[in-house]
Protein backbone atom coordinates (compact mmCIF):
# COMPACT_ATOMS: atom_id res chain seq x y z
CA UNK A 1 0.00 0.00 0.00
CA UNK A 2 1.28 3.45 -0.89
CA UNK A 3 1.29 5.70 2.12
CA UNK A 4 1.89 9.41 2.45
CA UNK A 5 2.68 10.37 6.01
CA UNK A 6 3.79 13.72 7.32
CA UNK A 7 6.75 12.85 9.52
CA UNK A 8 8.39 15.64 11.48
CA UNK A 9 6.99 18.21 9.12
CA UNK A 10 7.83 16.59 5.78
CA UNK A 11 5.53 14.33 3.78
CA UNK A 12 7.14 10.95 3.25
CA UNK A 13 5.94 8.47 0.64
CA UNK A 14 6.33 4.84 1.69
CA UNK A 15 5.17 1.59 0.17
CA UNK A 16 4.34 -0.76 3.02
CA UNK A 17 1.82 -3.25 4.29
CA UNK A 18 -1.02 -1.48 6.11
CA UNK A 19 -0.54 -4.07 8.88
CA UNK A 20 3.07 -3.06 9.45
CA UNK A 21 3.58 -1.40 12.79
CA UNK A 22 4.22 2.33 12.64
CA UNK A 23 7.26 1.60 14.82
CA UNK A 24 8.78 -0.64 12.13
CA UNK A 25 7.86 1.78 9.38
CA UNK A 26 9.71 4.57 11.18
CA UNK A 27 12.73 2.49 12.09
CA UNK A 28 13.15 0.27 9.05
CA UNK A 29 11.63 2.19 6.13
CA UNK A 30 12.41 5.75 7.18
CA UNK A 31 15.55 4.89 9.24
CA UNK A 32 14.31 7.06 12.09
CA UNK A 33 15.78 4.87 14.82
CA UNK A 34 15.29 7.30 17.67
CA UNK A 35 11.95 5.62 18.38
CA UNK A 36 12.73 2.49 20.41
CA UNK A 37 11.05 -0.84 20.94
CA UNK A 38 10.98 -1.99 24.56
CA UNK A 39 8.14 -4.47 24.65
CA UNK A 40 5.91 -4.55 21.57
CA UNK A 41 2.80 -4.63 23.72
CA UNK A 42 2.10 -1.02 24.59
CA UNK A 43 3.45 -1.29 28.12
CA UNK A 44 6.76 0.55 28.22
CA UNK A 45 6.18 3.67 26.12
CA UNK A 46 9.69 3.64 24.61
CA UNK A 47 8.10 3.79 21.15
CA UNK A 48 5.97 6.85 21.92
CA UNK A 49 5.39 9.23 19.01
CA UNK A 50 2.75 11.88 18.42
CA UNK A 51 0.02 10.89 15.98
CA UNK A 52 -1.93 13.96 14.92
CA UNK A 53 -0.51 15.62 18.02
CA UNK A 54 -1.46 12.98 20.59
CA UNK A 55 1.04 10.61 22.21
CA UNK A 56 0.61 6.99 21.12
CA UNK A 57 2.58 3.77 21.31
CA UNK A 58 3.84 3.33 17.76
CA UNK A 59 4.06 -0.44 18.28
CA UNK A 60 0.26 -0.47 18.45
CA UNK A 61 -0.44 1.66 15.38
CA UNK A 62 -0.98 0.04 11.98
CA UNK A 63 0.88 1.84 9.21
CA UNK A 64 -2.27 2.04 7.10
CA UNK A 65 -3.87 4.16 9.78
CA UNK A 66 -1.17 6.80 9.36
CA UNK A 67 -1.80 7.55 5.71
CA UNK A 68 -2.50 11.25 5.40
CA UNK A 69 -1.76 11.82 9.08
CA UNK A 70 0.92 13.63 11.01
CA UNK A 71 3.61 11.84 13.03
CA UNK A 72 6.18 13.48 15.28
CA UNK A 73 9.14 11.47 16.53
CA UNK A 74 11.99 12.33 18.84
CA UNK A 75 13.97 13.40 15.79
CA UNK A 76 11.38 16.13 15.26
CA UNK A 77 11.55 17.73 18.70
CA UNK A 78 14.65 19.82 18.27
CA UNK A 79 14.83 22.67 15.79
CA UNK A 80 18.16 22.02 14.16
CA UNK A 81 20.70 22.02 16.96
CA UNK A 82 18.34 23.88 19.28
CA UNK A 83 16.98 21.28 21.66
CA UNK A 84 13.42 21.31 22.94
CA UNK A 85 13.21 22.58 26.53
CA UNK A 86 12.37 19.06 27.69
CA UNK A 87 15.46 17.64 26.00
CA UNK A 88 17.66 20.37 27.41
CA UNK A 89 16.32 19.84 30.94
CA UNK A 90 16.59 16.06 30.73
CA UNK A 91 20.31 16.57 30.12
CA UNK A 92 20.72 19.31 32.69
CA UNK A 93 18.78 17.59 35.47
CA UNK A 94 20.17 14.09 34.93
CA UNK A 95 16.90 12.68 33.64
CA UNK A 96 18.54 10.37 31.12
CA UNK A 97 20.70 7.43 32.13
CA UNK A 98 20.86 4.44 29.82
CA UNK A 99 18.74 6.50 27.45
CA UNK A 100 16.65 3.78 25.85
CA UNK A 101 13.38 5.07 27.35
CA UNK A 102 14.45 8.68 26.89
CA UNK A 103 13.13 9.34 23.37
CA UNK A 104 9.65 8.14 24.37
CA UNK A 105 9.75 10.21 27.52
CA UNK A 106 11.03 13.25 25.65
CA UNK A 107 8.21 12.99 23.08
CA UNK A 108 5.49 12.51 25.69
CA UNK A 109 6.85 15.17 28.03
CA UNK A 110 7.34 17.67 25.21
CA UNK A 111 3.68 17.14 24.32
CA UNK A 112 2.62 17.78 27.93
CA UNK A 113 4.75 20.87 28.21
CA UNK A 114 3.79 22.30 24.83
CA UNK A 115 0.09 21.76 25.54
CA UNK A 116 0.37 23.34 28.97
CA UNK A 117 -0.78 20.13 30.67
CA UNK A 118 1.80 20.53 33.42
CA UNK A 119 1.17 23.42 35.81
CA UNK A 120 4.00 25.53 37.07
CA UNK A 121 2.61 25.13 40.60
CA UNK A 122 2.20 22.51 43.30
CA UNK A 123 0.05 20.17 41.24
CA UNK A 124 2.85 19.67 38.73
CA UNK A 125 4.48 16.67 40.38
CA UNK A 126 1.29 14.65 40.57
CA UNK A 127 0.38 15.64 37.01
CA UNK A 128 3.72 14.58 35.62
CA UNK A 129 3.55 11.27 37.47
CA UNK A 130 0.08 10.49 36.17
CA UNK A 131 0.58 11.70 32.61
CA UNK A 132 3.95 10.01 32.11
CA UNK A 133 2.88 6.74 33.73
CA UNK A 134 2.83 5.09 30.31
CA UNK A 135 6.60 5.50 30.02
CA UNK A 136 8.61 2.99 32.01
CA UNK A 137 12.14 3.87 33.03
CA UNK A 138 14.23 1.36 34.94
CA UNK A 139 17.31 3.49 35.64
CA UNK A 140 16.30 6.73 37.27
CA UNK A 141 13.59 5.99 39.81
CA UNK A 142 11.85 8.77 37.82
CA UNK A 143 12.83 11.51 40.27
CA UNK A 144 15.20 13.48 38.07
CA UNK A 145 12.88 13.08 35.09
CA UNK A 146 10.09 14.67 37.13
CA UNK A 147 12.43 17.52 38.02
CA UNK A 148 13.41 17.94 34.38
CA UNK A 149 9.85 18.03 33.07
CA UNK A 150 8.78 20.53 35.69
CA UNK A 151 11.79 22.71 34.91
CA UNK A 152 10.93 22.54 31.21
CA UNK A 153 7.28 23.38 31.91
CA UNK A 154 8.37 26.46 33.84
CA UNK A 155 10.77 27.43 31.10
CA UNK A 156 8.10 27.13 28.43
CA UNK A 157 5.48 28.89 30.57
CA UNK A 158 7.78 31.83 31.24
CA UNK A 159 8.64 31.95 27.54
CA UNK A 160 4.92 32.21 26.77
CA UNK A 161 4.52 35.12 29.17
CA UNK A 162 7.37 36.99 27.51
Amino acid sequence: MKLAIEVNGAVRAVDASPWKRLLDLLRDDLRLTGTKEGCGEGECGACTVLLDGEPVNSCLVAAGQCDGRRVTTVEGLAQGELLHAVQRQLVACGGAQCGICTPGIAVCAAHLVDRGLVDAGDAARAQVRELLAGNICRCTGYQLIVEAVIAAAREVASGRQR
Binding site: M1, G40, G42, N57, L60, A62, Q65, L132, A133, G134
Partner: protein, 287 residues
Protein backbone atom coordinates in the same frame (compact mmCIF):
# COMPACT_ATOMS: atom_id res chain seq x y z
CA UNK B 1 -1.09 -8.69 1.13
CA UNK B 2 -3.42 -7.16 3.63
CA UNK B 3 -6.19 -5.03 2.15
CA UNK B 4 -7.05 -1.76 3.79
CA UNK B 5 -10.13 0.41 3.81
CA UNK B 6 -10.74 3.64 5.60
CA UNK B 7 -14.48 4.19 5.07
CA UNK B 8 -15.72 7.74 4.54
CA UNK B 9 -18.95 7.14 6.39
CA UNK B 10 -20.86 4.55 8.34
CA UNK B 11 -22.67 3.20 5.30
CA UNK B 12 -19.40 2.43 3.57
CA UNK B 13 -18.11 0.85 6.76
CA UNK B 14 -21.19 -1.35 7.07
CA UNK B 15 -21.00 -2.38 3.44
CA UNK B 16 -17.35 -3.36 3.86
CA UNK B 17 -18.09 -5.21 7.08
CA UNK B 18 -20.80 -7.21 5.31
CA UNK B 19 -18.64 -7.84 2.26
CA UNK B 20 -15.51 -8.83 4.21
CA UNK B 21 -16.50 -10.56 7.42
CA UNK B 22 -12.93 -11.88 7.78
CA UNK B 23 -11.34 -8.43 7.89
CA UNK B 24 -10.02 -7.04 11.11
CA UNK B 25 -12.14 -4.18 12.44
CA UNK B 26 -9.51 -1.86 13.85
CA UNK B 27 -9.77 1.39 15.75
CA UNK B 28 -7.12 2.33 18.32
CA UNK B 29 -5.32 -1.01 18.09
CA UNK B 30 -4.39 -1.10 21.77
CA UNK B 31 -5.61 -4.67 22.05
CA UNK B 32 -5.52 -6.00 18.50
CA UNK B 33 -2.02 -4.73 17.74
CA UNK B 34 -0.31 -6.19 20.81
CA UNK B 35 2.65 -8.23 19.53
CA UNK B 36 1.34 -7.53 16.03
CA UNK B 37 4.60 -8.50 14.37
CA UNK B 38 4.11 -12.04 15.65
CA UNK B 39 0.50 -12.28 14.58
CA UNK B 40 -0.55 -13.42 11.14
CA UNK B 41 -1.43 -10.48 8.93
CA UNK B 42 -5.20 -10.17 8.55
CA UNK B 43 -6.85 -10.48 5.14
CA UNK B 44 -7.85 -6.88 5.42
CA UNK B 45 -8.22 -3.99 7.81
CA UNK B 46 -11.47 -2.10 8.15
CA UNK B 47 -10.13 1.03 9.80
CA UNK B 48 -12.68 2.82 11.95
CA UNK B 49 -10.11 5.14 13.56
CA UNK B 50 -11.51 8.67 13.53
CA UNK B 51 -14.61 7.68 11.57
CA UNK B 52 -16.59 10.82 12.25
CA UNK B 53 -19.98 9.13 12.52
CA UNK B 54 -18.87 7.18 15.59
CA UNK B 55 -16.65 9.77 17.26
CA UNK B 56 -19.23 12.08 18.78
CA UNK B 57 -20.10 12.69 22.40
CA UNK B 58 -23.43 14.45 22.77
CA UNK B 59 -26.16 15.06 25.25
CA UNK B 60 -29.46 13.54 24.19
CA UNK B 61 -32.83 14.00 25.82
CA UNK B 62 -34.55 10.94 24.60
CA UNK B 63 -35.21 9.53 28.05
CA UNK B 64 -36.40 11.21 31.19
CA UNK B 65 -33.47 13.01 32.73
CA UNK B 66 -31.52 12.73 29.52
CA UNK B 67 -28.66 10.58 28.38
CA UNK B 68 -25.24 11.02 26.93
CA UNK B 69 -24.41 9.28 23.69
CA UNK B 70 -20.76 8.36 23.32
CA UNK B 71 -19.64 7.24 19.89
CA UNK B 72 -17.89 3.89 19.74
CA UNK B 73 -14.83 5.48 18.17
CA UNK B 74 -14.40 8.01 20.96
CA UNK B 75 -11.08 7.60 22.73
CA UNK B 76 -10.91 7.39 26.48
CA UNK B 77 -8.91 10.61 26.47
CA UNK B 78 -11.85 12.31 24.75
CA UNK B 79 -14.30 10.69 27.15
CA UNK B 80 -12.30 11.79 30.17
CA UNK B 81 -11.97 15.36 28.89
CA UNK B 82 -15.58 15.74 27.75
CA UNK B 83 -17.38 18.29 29.92
CA UNK B 84 -20.71 16.42 29.78
CA UNK B 85 -19.12 13.17 30.84
CA UNK B 86 -17.12 14.79 33.60
CA UNK B 87 -20.16 16.57 34.97
CA UNK B 88 -22.81 13.89 34.53
CA UNK B 89 -21.02 10.55 34.32
CA UNK B 90 -18.21 10.94 36.82
CA UNK B 91 -17.51 7.19 37.20
CA UNK B 92 -17.04 6.83 33.46
CA UNK B 93 -14.62 9.74 33.39
CA UNK B 94 -12.78 8.19 36.33
CA UNK B 95 -12.60 4.79 34.66
CA UNK B 96 -11.38 6.41 31.43
CA UNK B 97 -8.52 7.94 33.34
CA UNK B 98 -7.40 4.56 34.64
CA UNK B 99 -7.39 2.75 31.31
CA UNK B 100 -3.71 2.19 30.64
CA UNK B 101 -1.94 5.52 30.66
CA UNK B 102 -1.95 8.52 28.37
CA UNK B 103 -0.72 6.73 25.23
CA UNK B 104 -3.39 4.05 25.61
CA UNK B 105 -6.11 6.55 26.49
CA UNK B 106 -5.29 8.51 23.35
CA UNK B 107 -6.02 5.47 21.18
CA UNK B 108 -8.24 3.00 23.01
CA UNK B 109 -11.91 3.51 22.28
CA UNK B 110 -15.19 2.83 23.98
CA UNK B 111 -16.17 0.57 21.11
CA UNK B 112 -12.95 -1.38 21.48
CA UNK B 113 -13.50 -1.95 25.19
CA UNK B 114 -17.08 -3.04 24.61
CA UNK B 115 -16.32 -5.13 21.54
CA UNK B 116 -13.29 -6.92 22.97
CA UNK B 117 -15.35 -7.56 26.08
CA UNK B 118 -12.43 -8.65 28.21
CA UNK B 119 -13.39 -9.55 31.77
CA UNK B 120 -10.87 -6.91 32.85
CA UNK B 121 -12.19 -4.20 30.49
CA UNK B 122 -12.02 -1.14 32.68
CA UNK B 123 -15.10 0.72 31.53
CA UNK B 124 -17.44 -2.24 31.49
CA UNK B 125 -18.61 -2.34 35.13
CA UNK B 126 -19.43 1.36 34.82
CA UNK B 127 -21.59 0.75 31.74
CA UNK B 128 -23.38 -1.95 33.73
CA UNK B 129 -23.90 0.20 36.80
CA UNK B 130 -25.14 3.13 34.72
CA UNK B 131 -27.44 0.81 32.76
CA UNK B 132 -26.10 1.86 29.40
CA UNK B 133 -27.50 0.78 26.06
CA UNK B 134 -25.47 -0.03 23.01
CA UNK B 135 -26.49 1.11 19.56
CA UNK B 136 -25.55 -1.31 16.78
CA UNK B 137 -25.79 -0.92 13.05
CA UNK B 138 -25.74 -3.30 10.11
CA UNK B 139 -26.97 -3.15 6.55
CA UNK B 140 -30.17 -4.61 8.01
CA UNK B 141 -30.70 -1.49 10.10
CA UNK B 142 -30.07 -0.31 13.61
CA UNK B 143 -30.88 -1.86 16.94
CA UNK B 144 -30.27 -1.21 20.59
CA UNK B 145 -29.16 -3.71 23.19
CA UNK B 146 -29.15 -3.15 26.92
CA UNK B 147 -25.53 -3.44 28.01
CA UNK B 148 -26.56 -5.85 30.77
CA UNK B 149 -27.54 -8.32 28.02
CA UNK B 150 -24.51 -7.67 25.83
CA UNK B 151 -21.94 -10.16 27.11
CA UNK B 152 -22.69 -13.78 26.34
CA UNK B 153 -19.55 -15.38 27.77
CA UNK B 154 -15.81 -15.04 28.01
CA UNK B 155 -14.98 -12.38 25.43
CA UNK B 156 -18.15 -13.12 23.50
CA UNK B 157 -20.99 -10.69 22.81
CA UNK B 158 -24.24 -10.29 20.96
CA UNK B 159 -22.50 -8.55 18.06
CA UNK B 160 -23.56 -10.10 14.76
CA UNK B 161 -21.07 -10.80 12.00
CA UNK B 162 -22.34 -7.88 9.90
CA UNK B 163 -22.73 -5.40 12.74
CA UNK B 164 -20.67 -2.52 14.05
CA UNK B 165 -20.97 -0.80 17.40
CA UNK B 166 -22.06 2.79 16.85
CA UNK B 167 -22.44 4.25 20.30
CA UNK B 168 -23.20 3.74 23.94
CA UNK B 169 -26.15 5.63 25.34
CA UNK B 170 -25.62 6.26 29.01
CA UNK B 171 -28.54 7.61 31.05
CA UNK B 172 -27.63 10.53 33.27
CA UNK B 173 -28.17 9.51 36.89
CA UNK B 174 -30.80 11.58 38.67
CA UNK B 175 -30.02 13.88 41.58
CA UNK B 176 -31.03 11.23 44.12
CA UNK B 177 -28.58 8.73 42.67
CA UNK B 178 -25.03 8.55 43.85
CA UNK B 179 -22.51 6.82 41.66
CA UNK B 180 -19.19 5.32 42.51
CA UNK B 181 -16.30 3.54 40.87
CA UNK B 182 -13.06 2.01 41.95
CA UNK B 183 -10.42 -0.02 40.22
CA UNK B 184 -7.84 -2.03 42.09
CA UNK B 185 -5.09 -2.99 39.68
CA UNK B 186 -1.69 -4.58 39.72
CA UNK B 187 -0.10 -1.17 40.32
CA UNK B 188 -1.16 2.46 40.42
CA UNK B 189 -1.16 3.22 36.72
CA UNK B 190 -0.88 1.40 33.43
CA UNK B 191 -2.25 -1.64 35.21
CA UNK B 192 -4.46 -4.64 34.64
CA UNK B 193 -7.42 -4.79 36.98
CA UNK B 194 -7.58 -7.30 39.78
CA UNK B 195 -11.00 -6.10 40.91
CA UNK B 196 -13.26 -3.31 39.74
CA UNK B 197 -16.50 -2.11 41.24
CA UNK B 198 -19.08 0.39 40.08
CA UNK B 199 -22.43 1.34 41.54
CA UNK B 200 -25.40 3.61 41.04
CA UNK B 201 -27.35 3.95 44.26
CA UNK B 202 -30.66 5.76 44.38
CA UNK B 203 -31.54 7.13 47.78
CA UNK B 204 -34.53 8.53 49.54
CA UNK B 205 -32.85 10.39 52.35
CA UNK B 206 -30.49 7.76 53.66
CA UNK B 207 -32.59 4.83 52.59
CA UNK B 208 -31.56 2.83 49.55
CA UNK B 209 -34.42 2.78 47.07
CA UNK B 210 -32.57 1.01 44.33
CA UNK B 211 -29.01 0.03 43.53
CA UNK B 212 -27.13 -1.28 40.56
CA UNK B 213 -23.90 -2.94 41.60
CA UNK B 214 -21.40 -4.16 39.04
CA UNK B 215 -18.04 -5.88 39.33
CA UNK B 216 -15.25 -6.59 36.90
CA UNK B 217 -12.35 -9.05 36.84
CA UNK B 218 -14.12 -11.49 39.14
CA UNK B 219 -15.90 -13.61 36.54
CA UNK B 220 -15.65 -14.49 32.85
CA UNK B 221 -17.42 -11.22 32.04
CA UNK B 222 -18.40 -8.04 33.89
CA UNK B 223 -21.38 -8.82 36.10
CA UNK B 224 -24.20 -7.19 38.04
CA UNK B 225 -24.54 -8.62 41.53
CA UNK B 226 -28.28 -9.12 41.83
CA UNK B 227 -28.04 -10.65 45.30
CA UNK B 228 -26.31 -7.55 46.63
CA UNK B 229 -28.75 -5.24 44.86
CA UNK B 230 -31.65 -7.09 46.47
CA UNK B 231 -29.96 -7.18 49.85
CA UNK B 232 -29.57 -3.41 50.13
CA UNK B 233 -32.97 -2.35 48.87
CA UNK B 234 -34.91 -0.56 51.59
CA UNK B 235 -31.99 -0.44 54.02
CA UNK B 236 -30.45 2.65 55.53
CA UNK B 237 -26.98 3.34 54.15
CA UNK B 238 -25.27 2.31 57.37
CA UNK B 239 -26.88 -1.12 57.24
CA UNK B 240 -26.61 -1.40 53.49
CA UNK B 241 -22.81 -1.41 53.60
CA UNK B 242 -22.67 -4.56 55.72
CA UNK B 243 -25.44 -6.22 53.75
CA UNK B 244 -23.71 -5.48 50.47
CA UNK B 245 -20.39 -6.76 51.77
CA UNK B 246 -21.90 -10.06 52.86
CA UNK B 247 -23.96 -10.47 49.70
CA UNK B 248 -21.03 -9.80 47.38
CA UNK B 249 -18.72 -12.13 49.28
CA UNK B 250 -21.13 -15.02 48.98
CA UNK B 251 -22.31 -14.27 45.45
CA UNK B 252 -19.04 -14.26 43.52
CA UNK B 253 -16.64 -17.03 42.53
CA UNK B 254 -13.46 -15.33 41.36
CA UNK B 255 -10.39 -17.29 40.32
CA UNK B 256 -6.68 -17.51 41.11
CA UNK B 257 -4.45 -16.38 38.29
CA UNK B 258 -1.02 -14.82 37.81
CA UNK B 259 -2.34 -11.40 38.77
CA UNK B 260 -4.13 -12.16 42.02
CA UNK B 261 -5.93 -14.75 44.12
CA UNK B 262 -9.56 -15.76 44.42
CA UNK B 263 -9.70 -14.94 48.11
CA UNK B 264 -8.19 -11.50 47.60
CA UNK B 265 -10.59 -10.69 44.80
CA UNK B 266 -13.58 -11.81 46.85
CA UNK B 267 -12.55 -9.83 49.90
CA UNK B 268 -11.65 -6.68 48.01
CA UNK B 269 -14.76 -6.80 45.84
CA UNK B 270 -16.86 -6.96 49.00
CA UNK B 271 -14.90 -4.12 50.57
CA UNK B 272 -15.20 -1.89 47.52
CA UNK B 273 -18.93 -2.38 47.24
CA UNK B 274 -19.46 -1.83 50.96
CA UNK B 275 -17.49 1.40 50.71
CA UNK B 276 -19.82 2.67 47.99
CA UNK B 277 -22.49 2.81 50.70
CA UNK B 278 -20.18 4.52 53.17
CA UNK B 279 -20.25 8.13 54.23
CA UNK B 280 -17.40 9.32 52.05
CA UNK B 281 -18.49 7.63 48.84
CA UNK B 282 -19.27 10.76 46.92
CA UNK B 283 -17.51 9.46 43.89
CA UNK B 284 -13.83 9.47 43.17
CA UNK B 285 -11.91 12.67 43.51
CA UNK B 286 -11.47 14.34 40.16
CA UNK B 287 -8.92 17.01 39.59
Amino acid sequence: MTAYLRPRDLDEALAARAAHPDWLVLAGGTDLMVNANHRPAPAGILDLWRLVAICLVRRTDEAIGGAIAIGAGTTWLEVERDPHVRAQLAPLAAAAREIGALQIQARATLGGNVGTSSPVGDSLPVLLALDAELELASPRGRRRVAYRDWCTGYRTTQLAADELIVAAHVPIPGPATRTAWRKVGTRRAQSISKVMGAAAITLDGDVVVDARIALGAIADRPVRIAAAEAAVRGLRLTDAAAAARAAVASAIRPIDDIRSTASYRREVAANLVARFFGPAAAGPAMS
